[in-house]
Amino acid sequence: MARPLFVIILHIILALSLITSSCSKAPKGYSLLQLKGSDTEVSLALSLAEAYMDKDSLVSIAVTGGGSGTGIAAIINGKTDIANSSRPMKEKEISLAESQGVKVFTTLFAVDALAIIVNDQNPLDGLGTSQLGEIFRGEKDNWKAFGGEDLEINLYGRQNNSGTYIFFRDNFLKADYSPEAKQMNGNAQIVAGVREDPSAIGYVGLGYVVKKNGSIVDGLKILNIAQDSLFISPLEKDNITSGAYPITRPLYQFTNGKPSGKILEFIQFELSREGQELVSREGYYPLSPEHVMINKQNGLYE
């Protein structure tokens, strides 16, 4: 009885070793690129990667999310080729990277606008940026204060590994979020939560609430935002490219050192006219002249 069992075990081991060895063989000259990080950028990076793979069949690009912090941690630990991030790297992270022998190189490749969303039952149409701060810091917790119904405000935000979470906090709260803020697991969950909740307010990448044909996800209302006194809608493309809409930010990609080889070719594709057109089609915005300038100074576009 014992012998057949051993034979079976041996067979399993042999089979396993065959499987693993056959996996590791890839055609020559074939390269695999890894992109990791920002959840905001996943869908955009995926479309860019797919378009690029159509042009170059010798490249395979894998895009994963997890949040900007996750991507930055991965580039520091040498676990990804490109880190997607919706926020710049902090001083602390750059020095940590240097101590691991990673020299961070920054590319700007698109612009994203954040939409402030409420439930479509909310009578409000717009808010000022300072009011947004008051709401998300938890200083004002009833919609009545803003001319709405007598309803407690429910905050929907991202988790602290999110670049969007940090960006919004550092630029509009300038302090910590209210501890009452719900920390949702990604943009899509904020959308799902706000749709169900008449007292909700949340922030998400505009691409997650405006469909390809320009219509808004139903059940939601996108607020107009005023920096000073003029309410600006993010739904007008010009408002974003001109910089009139206040909640926009560039999207970043970090590499270890100035990119070269296939990584450089992919980044150049993203920055090309074709890549930037794809960026617009995906609900994001092409780089502004100032952003292009920064990339040029860094020695891209050559």
Partner: protein, 290 residues
């Protein structure tokens, strides 16, 4: 001769397998402890356990208090047990004592299939189905709260509880029940006074296994409880559990920082809780063993 040799070989093999699981358990605990203990170079242990503000990546000053998350974890677990234990033991009693064989043959596999549903799927249902249902039933603005988490965890713990409790009840010797009937007891009296008490240690084991599932479950609670960091006041509040905190933050944390070590300390706290639950259960069960 040959047979003796294989017998011995296999007894060593199984001894090795048994020792391996003990070693793994020890290894995990040591790793949590060694990494976690370094948190306390910078943070007062009492402040860590009882402080109610957790904000390691704060705008100004980081704080590491797991108090509110500890309460949250205990709250959802307790809630899940309040729902799942009566339901579970009731179904187990029905399946083993009352249900006709055919019904049992259909019901038990269905119940066990419940255990095979991935936790993300259950969490998803919690967001799109149970959340809105809770909100409209209780007149709340949203259903992302501790109650939602408790109900879903109860659903996930149920198959374990039913399955283990049913085996325990079925293992009660027939002679016990026959003696009870012979003394003139009806089925209800026999079930509650004889069969259930006789299987008490097995039922406790069922409860502990179910509770272990509830304490350790991550994905579902992360999705449906809203992950709100403030101290919860009721089951209608959003909460963030210890498991969710590790899952959310470990991916992003920079290696070797206080934040990194503190997540291991959170893991050690979780481990200690489930260890305590197991020890207490073992003790209770041994007191009632027949």
């Amino acid at each position: 001769m040959n047979r003796n040799r294989t017998d011995r070989l296999f007894s060593y093999l199984f001894l090795g397998a048994g020792m391996l699981s003990v070693l793994i358990l020890l290894g995990i605990f040591l790793m949590l402890l060694i990494n976690g203990i370094r948190t306390f170079a910078e943070i007062n242990p009492l402040e860590f356990l009882f402080g109610s503000t957790w904000n390691p990546s704060a705008y100004e000053k980081a704080s590491y208090g797991i108090g509110s998350m500890l309460v949250s974890t205990l709250m959802v677990t307790l809630g899940a047990m309040i729902i799942a234990v009566p339901l579970g033991i009731g179904s187990a009693a029905y399946l083993s004592e009352i249900a006709p064989a055919r019904v049992r043959e259909i019901l038990k596999p269905i119940l066990e299939m419940l255990a095979g549903i991935p936790s993300v799927v259950i969490g998803f249902l919690g967001i799109v189905l149970l959340g809105p249902a809770i909100a409209s039933t209780f007149g709340l603005n949203n259903g992302l709260n501790a109650l939602n988490g408790s109900i879903l965890l109860a659903v996930m713990a149920l198959p374990t509880i039913v399955s283990v409790a049913e085996d325990a009840i079925r293992a009660v010797p027939n002679s016990f029940k026959e003696a009870s009937y012979a003394l003139g007891a009806n089925r209800w009296i026999t079930l509650t006074r004889v069969t259930l008490p006789a299987s008490f240690s097995g039922i406790i084991a069922a409860m502990v296994l179910g509770m272990g599932r509830a304490i350790g479950e991550t994905m579902t609670v992360l999705m449906v409880t809203g992950n709100n960091l403030s101290m919860p006041n009721s089951y209608f509040d959003s909460i963030r559990t210890l498991t969710a905190t590790i899952a959310i933050e470990l991916g992003e944390v920079a290696y070797g920082t206080t934040h990194y070590f503190s997540l291991f300390a959170v893991g050690a706290v979780l481990f200690t809780i489930s260890l305590l639950v197991n020890i207490v259960a073992e003790w209770v069960a041994s007191k009632f063993r027949y």
